[in-house]
Amino acid sequence: MRWDEYLKKERLPSFWCAGCGYGQVMRSLAMALEKTRAALENTVIVSGIGCWGHVDSWMKPNAFHGIHGRALAFATGIKLASPALNVIVVMGDGDGVTIGGNHFIHACRRNVGLTAVVCNNLNYGMTGGQYSGTTPEDSITSTSRYGHIEQSFDICRLAEAAGAHFIARSISENVVATADCIAEGMKRENFAVIEVMSPCTTHYGRNNNMRKPIEMYRRIKSLAVPVGTAAKLSSEQMEGKFVTGILLDRPGEDYFTRYQNNIKVKAQTAAKEEGT
């Protein structure tokens, strides 16, 4: 199937604001499905709540549109019960690492073979631009009118510290690079995190002196440093910037494989010995 055949064209256009980066990421996700030749029947998109959490409505595969913050936990059940499925979990920064932060770190550690596509737009767009766990310090948002006083999460570093095996980052306008990152994540048996920096031009941009959408796109692009380049830069030169590309790709056994090879084998041997 071509990428556009994964979209539910009859339900488009989306409700995303003009200037939003999520349409770009939706295209990247569709391209990743094409690249991995994902069958609709065999693919489930699991989402939570928020602007990005609505992407499943405009795509053709199976979907589980759950509640705010719990997408990874629903997906864990789906994948462990039916390991042959491609399970793609779409979350924003609020959904994924703020209300859902506990599920996120444990999903990284547990290593169930899910592909998490976390779109980071630095704030809660759908409820009107409040601060999230990834909002940078000093930012103006609807709930930090005097400047944000909390530190922000770096999603990729959080994932690494929590034990994820595959971590990548992209920016929404680099549609092909994002698609490659998602496709590579989908090919792994391990839990994969793909963070996509995407502008919320309606709220975050306007609140933070980026009056036109293009200004926020330029800002994101100016902060993105490809992984190869970043290796040659000093930490001072990297100050305030973020690395893009595949940041971590280490081998490991996913939860289901370990469960099959260890727990099930031992349990069934024990049951036989008991003669039950």
């Binding site: 409505s57 059940g77 019960a81 444990h106 069934q268």
Partner: protein, 382 residues
């Protein structure tokens, strides 16, 4: 495997074995007293029968995971106690609105918050009914013996599948940790999930199209089969698309209550003991039934005509059955380890205004039969 085995064990063990006998093959949970043995035993037994056990990071994740696993076609359950049940409420609503079957076991302990973590209570009766926000109905079953833990767990899975609904088992610390002989007889009847008629074109399948079916229960194929579809925990139409259409909202929100109430005769079970000639009735459920039965025997030994109405199904409430009893006795006692949660429900059906006395105990000790005998005397004097 393990069919017709007689065993001496605790209620929590019987629940885990009942789940497996019912065909459940997925457990997700978080440890909490006094339910932990259900997790412990499930972690040993499920992999023996090809199932999955996963301990999640909290009860919110546990409830999410069992809903996800059930959407993938595997019968799923979790077990917890009060604090965990409180955390699960939003997701119990997800199971309601997505109409995904699952079984939630609450081995009740005493008090709000952390409460008395190791002590028994029956204080979550109303929470089971009304804990999740938004209008809906729920099924809740209450075992009073180890054998019933086994049997009612099987029944809970059958009802969950038949009506595409979450089903709660309201057990308690006493029944959960009590040891009795029980028979692992295998499931006498296993109700599977309704599947779409194979003659239906794949594109015509709609996951929430309940009106098409006489019993108002739409079939539910697993993810990964030939049907490609959406589950949506927001207000949705037949196809699972989010909508705020008012006619649609009216139809679906009523459906979540009506689909249970419409089948209440199939769901509600009670057990009457010595009610044929009874002048006074003791209405009770769960661990308190044991006190009620003892009180009844003691009263009968003194020549008093007392019977027991045991509520096995707590929700939907046994309104007809309770009314039938209240219509023909001189007075009734409601014995429960809470401050009158079932008493208030029974009172709503006391059309003749006969004396009704509440034995509502919250000191974390089982009700003594003497306390019920005192209440019987109070009813007789009134």
């Amino acid at each position: 495997m393990r069919k017709h085995e007689i065993r001496f064990g605790m209620g929590n063990e019987a629940i885990a074995e009942g789940a497996i006998a019912a065909g459940a093959r997925f457990y997700a949970g978080y440890p909490i007293t006094p339910s932990s043995e259900i997790a412990d035993i499930s972690s040993v037994r499920l992999p023996q029968v090809g199932g999955i056990f996963v301990q999640m990071e909290d009860e919110i994740g546990s409830m999410s995971a069992i809903i996800g696993a059930s959407a993938a076609g595997v019968k799923s359950y979790t077990a917890t106690s009060g604090p965990g049940i409180s955390l699960m409420q939003e997701n119990i609503g997800v199971a309601v609105i997505t109409e995904i079957p699952c079984v939630i076991i609450n081995v009740q302990r005493s008090g709000p918050s952390t409460g008395l973590a190791t002590k028994p209570g029956q204080q979550d009766v109303m929470q089971a009914r009304w804990g999740a926000h938004g209008d809906h109905a729920i099924i809740a079953l209450s075992p009073s013996s180890v054998q019933e833990c086994y049997d009612l767990t099987i029944r809970a899975f059958n009802l969950a599948e038949k009506y595409r609904t979450p089903v709660c088992i309201l057990s308690d610390e006493i029944v959960g940790h009590m040891r009795e002989q029980f028979e692992l007889h295998g499931a006498k009847e296993i109700i599977g999930r309704k599947q779409p008629d194979p003659s239906m074109p794949v594109e015509a399948f709609r996951p929430y199209d309940f009106e098409r079916y006489e019993d108002h229960i739409a079939p539910l194929p697993p993810f990964g089969g030939r049907y490609v579809y959406r589950h949506t925990a927001s207000g949705h139409d037949e196809n699972g698309y989010v909508t705020n259409d008012k006619q649609n909202a009216n139809k679906f929100i009523r459906h979540y209550t009506e689909k249970i109430e419409k089948h209440r005769d199939d769901i509600v079970t009670v057990e009457a003991h010595c009610m044929e000639d009874a002048e006074y009735a003791i209405i009770s459920f769960g661990c308190s039934v044991r006190s009620a039965m003892a009180a009844m025997r003691m009263a009968r030994a003194r020549g008093k005509k007392v019977g027991v109405l045991k509520l096995i199904t707590l929700w939907p409430f046994a309104d007809k059955e309770v009314r039938a009893v209240l219509d023909r006795v001189k007075g009734a006692i409601v014995a429960e380890m809470n401050l009158g949660q079932v008493f208030s429900e029974v009172s709503r059906h006391n059309d003749r205004r006969i004396p009704l006395v509440s034995v509502g105990k919250v000191d974390a000790e089982i009700i003594y039969p003497e306390e019920i005998l005192d209440a019987l005397e109070e009813a007789a004097r009134a």
